[in-house]
Structure formats: structure tokens, C-alpha cells
Amino acid sequence: MKKTLKNSHLMISLVAVLASFLVAILVMLLTGLNPSRFFVALIRTFSGYDILRGNFNPRYIGEFVQVSLPLILSGLSVGFAFRTGLFNIGAEGQLIMGSLGAVCVGILFPMPIYLHLPLAILTAALLGALWGAVPGFLKAKFGVHEVVITIMMNYIALYLSAYVIKLLPGSDNQKSADIVASALLRSDFLRSITANSRLHWGFIIVIAAILIYRFIIDKTVFGYELRAVGFNPFAAEYAGIRVNSRIISSMIIAGAFAGLAGAMLSLGTFDYGRVLSHFENYGFDGISVALLGGNTGLGILLSGLLFGILKSSQTMMQSLGIPLEIVNIVSGLIILFVAMQYGIQALLKRFTKGKEEEDGSV
């Protein structure tokens, strides 16, 4: 049963992605665009191969993986909370706080790299965790809905982070001074093999995070309790699980994942802290990533890479005459189709029905 369920989610995700591509093709045809260019850009983004010119550039691969890293982590953040029945809209704010923490440590406390880098990453995770703990606590203690609180916390994070970064020594109105090299995830080796892309060591952290995610959820007593609370808090209470404390711990861990995503951006992608005037949606995209990935570690990895491809293909789309709105339409449609999972399931059933009857058993 478990296997067929998992498979059916995979099927739904695949159908959703395919269907949204089909609709996007339709939209492009109706608006007089050439859909083949859309796919040229996509293929080039994830394989580095340019079909039109016949040349290969590994830089594109490095770039799309690099863009995927924070998406996967914020997907893990949202997915983890989902498993406990919580809707973490606050990954965006947790990510901003994590990024801020990494920038502060990276600029203010120069140290040898083996201390500095881990400390910067840890601070990012801790600040993200703190930002997750607040709504978790308010939910557990006063029953305030986490969606409301996390939305508020996103704005606090956005403006607090802009304020603090401007206070740092050497900052201007757009960005902070450069982060000291000993706190950076930058890798000359990874850059050299990907034709100078911004790919960095953060991918190791992401792989570790996915493994930790799977381990906690599937293998530990703690994960069992979280899932029990997520599926049925009344039965969890009956079993003697402290539901409120589990809600708080779930939000703390979810926040830590999002905080790490922030570290990916400031220590890996940009090398400096940015004064944001609006949300960049890495955290909100995490909701899509978790949804498409079915809240499993592997699913989030795959869907994070897919959204990374879409996100990093936008500039090339534009240069090929495909407006970047098309990419947003595709991302939106994917989520729409995943949300229509019951309809898709019914369709799938109808398609597979004939086959099952031939087998003689169900």
C-alpha cells in the first residue's frame, strides 16, 4: 500500500509537470511565440547543450544547481512542517534571518576558515530556527494560527535584515561590505570545472540536509511523533505524545532548514549581504517545491532541481524571445495541477483500469 501510494504521488507530480508544459505550449502558440525556443532554453539550462549552435557550456549546469540549492532547503523547511500538520509560510522570513546571521558573522568575526565557515553556517541555522520557534510557540501556547504569524514574521525579517545590514561597517544602501573569504562557501575548483559558474560547496550541506531530513522523519522516535501529530493530533495525545512541544520542535527544525537556505545565498551565491526591498520568493517557492515533491526527501530534491532549472532559465528565455512570465506560468500551473491531485488520480485510475482487470486482481 505504502509503495503504491508513493508511486501514485510520483505519477501525479509527473502528470502535473507534463500537463503544465502542455498548457504553456498552448499559451505560447496562442500568443504567437515559438514554443520550441522555450524547450531550447530549458535543455540548455540543465544540460549545458545548445541545440541551435551545437556547443556545450557546463556553466549552465553549475548555475542551475546553484540556484536549486536554497530552493531545496526551503522545500525541506516547508515539507518538514507539513509532516507535523503545520503550514510554514514563514520559510521566506526564516531564510532572510539565516542569511542575515551568516552575513553578520562573516563580516564581523574573522577567524580561521575551519571555525569561521561552520560558525557562519550554524548562526544561519540558529537564526532561522529562532524565527521558526516564535510562531511554533505562539501556536502551541495560545493556539494562534501559524499561517498568520509566519506571514507577519516574514515582514519583520525583511525590514529588520535591511536595517541591520545597513548598520554593518562598510555597507551602503544596496549591500554590505564583502564577506571575509574564510566564511565563504566559494570553491575555485567547482568554478573551474563549470566554466566559472557560481556553484559552491553548499551542495554538500544540501545533501547532508536531505539525509538528515529523511533520517529524522522515517527512522527516529522523534519523527514518528511528528508524523503522528501531523496525521492525527488527537490520537497522538492519546498515545501520550506532547503535541504542543512537538509543534514547537517541528517549527524550530523547519526554521533551521530555511536558515541554511539563507546561508546558501549570502555565503555561496553573492558573497555579501543584500539590502532587500522586497521578497525574493526563495522561501515561498519552497512551498511549491515541497508540494510537488510530496514532502519526501527525494521528492523535494527532484522538484527543487526542476524549479531551479525554471528559475535559472529565465534570462536565457528572454534572450530567445520568450518572456519570463511564461516560466512563472509554468511554475504556477505545476502547483495548480498538483493541487488537483484527486482529479488526476481519478484520471489515472480510468487509464489503468483496463490493465488491472487483465491482471485479474487489484
Binding site: M1, K2, K219, V221, A228, N232, A235, Y238
Partner: protein
């Protein structure tokens, strides 16, 4: 009498299970046909096919001789088929009339025509002797009355064929009598009734014919006048069944549980348990009889640590445990078979093996240093499933949601009995189950008693209370209003105590 509904060769499959296997069923005009079967035998599935909730993989349905395709419940209503569900679907703060017309509102232009709706409801109520007040709000009426509203909904939609799913499960003995009268009126008016039930007594009392399902197959249709309870039970279960549980007289030991002047509030912050006191000894079953909603749920939740206690003391083996958590109570030896197995007792989206260790997953050998030990969990779950005869489509990997109610309950009972509790709080342990499963669970409870466990049995079924209890406490309005030995009382007296009328009479006497 000509057939009004005919099912031919109905087959419906679910993953791992054939719920209905090539079933034929005929309902004649103006009869009461009982559909009898164990839980999971496929009764509800078959009726859901007739009512348009499920589409069968094979088979044909004929209504009044015409072949029909019932693709959804609206088609069923158009054909004059109505269903009264086991779980009521009512809006609590609407009036009876508003609930009845919901989804089918009579209107003058844009305005709902309440006056004519109200009139129609009153007429129907009078015609079938239902005695409902069309203006009363659902939240203020009894469960028995709520069921009549469900029945009225069906009548309001002009149903000629009425399906009732386990209608007596929630009723007091008096209310059951009245329901039987209502069904007789239906037949008098030429309506046809299908009664889904596993209560043999009711079948003998009201039905003309009975069709018996076992494990998805139709095993026979009998004239009720030419059969008896024993034969029906045997047909249903597939073996001989004993109706009264064999048990030795109790040998009560020392006091296990003492409750003193307990006060507990309900969901709405009103006092539900109001100064209740009782005690239970080792090796004794105390039956708590009462009508639903008189504080039983709150009492059970207070005893098991799921609800805050406002006042009073609970002692276990003489030690105060009023303030400790649910977990500590389990560790102290309190087992709990919860009233609502799907809400409290199980996590429906977990597999069977994950549910079997719901209270012990964090103990060795099921986990070590915070890591779940799946081999140990699985083998323990397998052992429990085997010894408590829990049947499911895919063994211990079955998603509990897909299992039948009876097997879900057996899983809970197995899990709780295996805790070897010193106090077992069993709240409606056989609610909605069939004779076979009831017999099994009853004998397990007696076994537990004979090993010295104190058992609090909360039940709305007086048969069950009489069958199992060594002493009977009657609860009314949050207090114990009577304590009787089963051999010194009868259903009538308990019924009066349960309804509070005896207590009120006693109070009046003392006032005078």
C-alpha cells in the same frame, strides 16, 4: 409482492479485498428487508453502490423493473431511493426544518419559502408519528430526535425505498421501540425498507426477510418467520456463536481505582462530570450504563489524562494520580480502549504495524537511543495481529484507513490488552461491531478480568452491560445515580435511572 429493487451480480473491489462478490439482492415492495453481516462483510459497500456512492465493477441494478445506472446520490433520490446514514449529517445551529430542506430548498423567486417547507415537515412528522418540532435547533434535541430528522430528510425527498444504516446503534431501549413503530408505519404507507444491522433481536422483531452477507458473498436469504437467532448468527459468522459470555463469578480483590467528587468540564466549558464518585476492584468489571452525553466521555478522558480535572481526586492503588500525564498513566498500567477509534485510537494514515506500538514505540526494544527498531516493531505487530485475529488486505503493511471497523477495533483491543494493564478503561469497546467480533472482544475482556485487571466498561448497549458487568453504575447528568448488581435489576429499571426520571422521583420523595 413484486420486486421494487433488484441487484444482479454486483461486484465491487477495493485494494486487496473483494468487498462485494457477485451479489444478488431483491427488495419487494412494502417489506422490511434486513441486511445482516459482520463488519467488513460488505453491507455498507453494497448499499453505497445502490445509493450511488460507489460504482460497481460488474453487475446490474433494476429499479421498478427498469435497468438503471446510479452514478451519484442525486440519481438515487430521483429514483426514490433515500438513505439514513449511521453518522448524522446535520448543521448543529440550524432548525430541524432548515436541516431538512438543505440542498433542496423550496423557493419563491430568490426567497426560500420557509412557510411551506415548515408546513410540509409538520405534515410528514404527523403522518409517520415522528413527533418533531420543526423549529427546534439540532443542538438542543436528543440523539434519537436527530435520527428522526435524518429520516425526515429522506421522506421530504419522497423516497419510496429507504435504506437505514445501523439505525439503532445510538438509541436507548425506549427509542429503539419507537423507531420500530416508525418503520411499521412506513410499510403501512407502502414504502420499502432495507435495514442494515447486525442486531439479531431487531431483525426478528421487525424484518420480513433477511439477506445474510459473509466476507463479501451472499450466503442466503431467509424468511424471518422461518428462522431464529441462532441460525442467523451461524450463517453470518460461519460457525456456532454463543450469545452470553461464559464467565465465572468475579473475585474482587483490593481497590484499584477510586474516584472522589470529580468535576470535569466539556468542550463548551460546561460542567459535564458533576461530583462523581466510584471505585473499582481488582478482577471486577464495573459497567457504566447511561444515555450518550451524560458525562461518560469526559469521565473517561479525565481518567486517562486527556482532559483537565477541575476538582476532585483520582487514586490508583491508593496513590493520588489526579495530576499526572497520559503517558505516565499508561506506564502506571492504565489501558484505554477509546470510544472513537478513528479519532483517538488509531492514526488512519499510518500502517497497521505503526499503529500497534502507538504507546510503546519509545521503549526498548522498539527503539534504541531514539532510533526506531523496525524489525522489533514489525515482529511485535505481527505477533499481536496474529493472536488477536486482525484481518487486513496487506498484513501489517496495510494502511489502517482501508481496514474494516471491526478489524480496526480488534487491533486497538489487542494493543491495549497486551499492555497488561491493571486498570482498563473500555469505552464502547464493541460499538458498531458484529456478533463474532463482539463475542471475541467480550471474552478477551473477561480473560483480562480473570487475570486481576480492574475494568471500567462504558457502554450505551444494555445487553453488553448486563452480559459483562459484575456491578452496574448508572450515570445521569454527570453523576452516579444508581449502583446495582446485574442479577438484582432489569432493563426497565436501568432505563428509568438512565433517563433521570427515577432520580427525580426519588428527589421529590425526599423533598416531601
Amino acid at each position: 409482492m413484486e420486486p421494487i429493487v433488484e441487484l444482479r451480480g454486483i461486484t465491487k473491489r477495493f485494494p486487496g479485498i473483494i468487498a462485494n462478490d457477485n451479489i444478488d439482492l431483491t427488495l419487494k415492495k412494502g417489506e422490511v428487508l434486513a441486511l445482516l453481516g459482520e463488519n467488513g462483510a460488505g453491507k455498507s459497500t453494497l448499499m453505497s453502490v445502490l445509493f450511488g456512492f460507489y460504482r460497481p465493477e460488474a453487475g446490474e441494478i433494476f429499479v421498478r423493473g427498469q435497468k438503471v445506472d446510479i452514478s451519484n446520490p442525486n440519481v438515487a433520490y430521483d429514483l426514490g431511493i433515500g438513505m439514513v446514514h449511521q453518522h448524522f449529517q446535520l448543521v448543529q445551529n440550524f432548525t430541524i426544518t432548515e436541516n431538512i430542506i438543505l440542498g433542496n430548498e423550496p423557493h419563491k423567486g430568490m426567497i426560500v419559502d420557509m412557510a411551506s417547507a415548515r408546513k410540509r415537515v409538520s405534515e410528514l412528522s404527523e403522518m409517520y408519528n415522528l413527533n418533531v418540532d420543526p423549529d427546534a435547533k439540532i443542538e438542543n434535541i436528543s440523539v434519537g430526535m436527530q435520527q428522526r430528522v435524518e429520516i425526515l430528510k429522506v421522506l421530504y425527498r419522497d423516497a419510496e425505498i429507504i435504506i437505514l444504516d445501523e439505525p439503532t446503534a445510538v438509541l436507548t431501549p425506549q427509542e429503539i421501540e419507537e423507531l420500530m413503530g416508525i418503520l411499521r408505519n412506513f410499510v403501512k404507507e407502502g414504502k420499502s425498507v432495507i435495514l442494515i444491522t447486525h442486531k439479531l433481536k431487531e431483525i426478528m422483531q421487525i424484518a420480513d426477510r433477511v439477506s445474510v452477507l459473509r466476507q463479501g458473498k451472499m450466503v442466503g436469504t431467509l424468511e424471518v418467520a422461518k428462522t431464529n437467532e441462532e441460525e442467523l448468527a451461524e450463517l453470518m459468522v460461519g460457525r456456532k456463536v454463543s450469545f452470553t459470555t461464559e464467565k465465572e463469578p468475579a473475585k474482587p480483590g483490593e481497590v484499584v481505582l477510586e474516584v472522589e467528587d470529580l468535576w470535569v468540564k466539556d468542550q463548551r466549558e460546561l460542567d459535564a462530570v458533576r461530583g462523581l464518585s466510584l471505585s473499582i476492584c481488582e478482577g471486577e468489571i464495573l459497567g457504566l450504563a447511561g444515555v450518550d452525553g451524560n458525562g461518560q466521555r469526559e469521565l473517561v478522558e479525565a481518567l486517562t489524562g486527556l482532559r483537565h480535572i477541575n476538582k476532585g481526586v483520582i487514586r490508583l492503588f491508593g496513590k493520588d494520580y489526579t495530576k499526572i500525564t497520559a503517558k505516565e498513566r499508561t506506564d502506571l498500567g492504565i489501558g484505554h480502549i477509546p470510544e472513537d477509534r478513528q479519532k483517538r485510537g488509531l492514526i488512519l494514515d499510518f500502517t497497521l504495524f505503526e499503529n500497534m506500538l502507538l504507546e510503546r514505540y519509545d521503549e526498548e526494544p522498539y527503539s534504541q537511543k531514539g532510533i526506531l527498531q523496525f524489525p522489533a516493531i514489525r515482529s511485535k505487530a505481527q505477533e499481536l495481529v496474529d493472536s488477536f485475529d486482525v484481518r487486513s488486505g496487506e498484513g501489517i503493511d496495510t494502511l489502517v484507513r482501508t481496514m474494516s471497523g471491526g478489524n480496526q477495533q480488534k487491533a486497538i483491543v489487542g494493543r491495549e490488552v497486551d499492555l497488561e494493564p491493571r486498570l482498563m478503561v473500555a469505552s464502547q469497546p464493541t460499538r458498531g461491531l458484529d456478533v463474532g467480533a463482539i463475542e471475541y472482544i467480550h471474552s478477551r475482556l473477561i480473560e483480562l478480568r480473570d487475570q486481576g485487571t480492574a475494568i471500567l466498561l462504558v457502554s450505551f448497549e444494555l445487553d453488553e452491560i448486563f452480559n459483562l458487568s459484575d456491578r452496574i453504575a448508572v450515570i445521569h447528568n454527570g453523576r452516579i445515580v444508581g449502583m446495582r448488581y446485574p442479577e438484582e435489576t432489569d432493563e426497565m429499571e436501568l432505563g428509568l435511572l438512565m433517563s433521570g426520571s427515577k432520580e427525580i422521583a426519588d428527589e421529590k420523595n425526599t423533598e416531601e
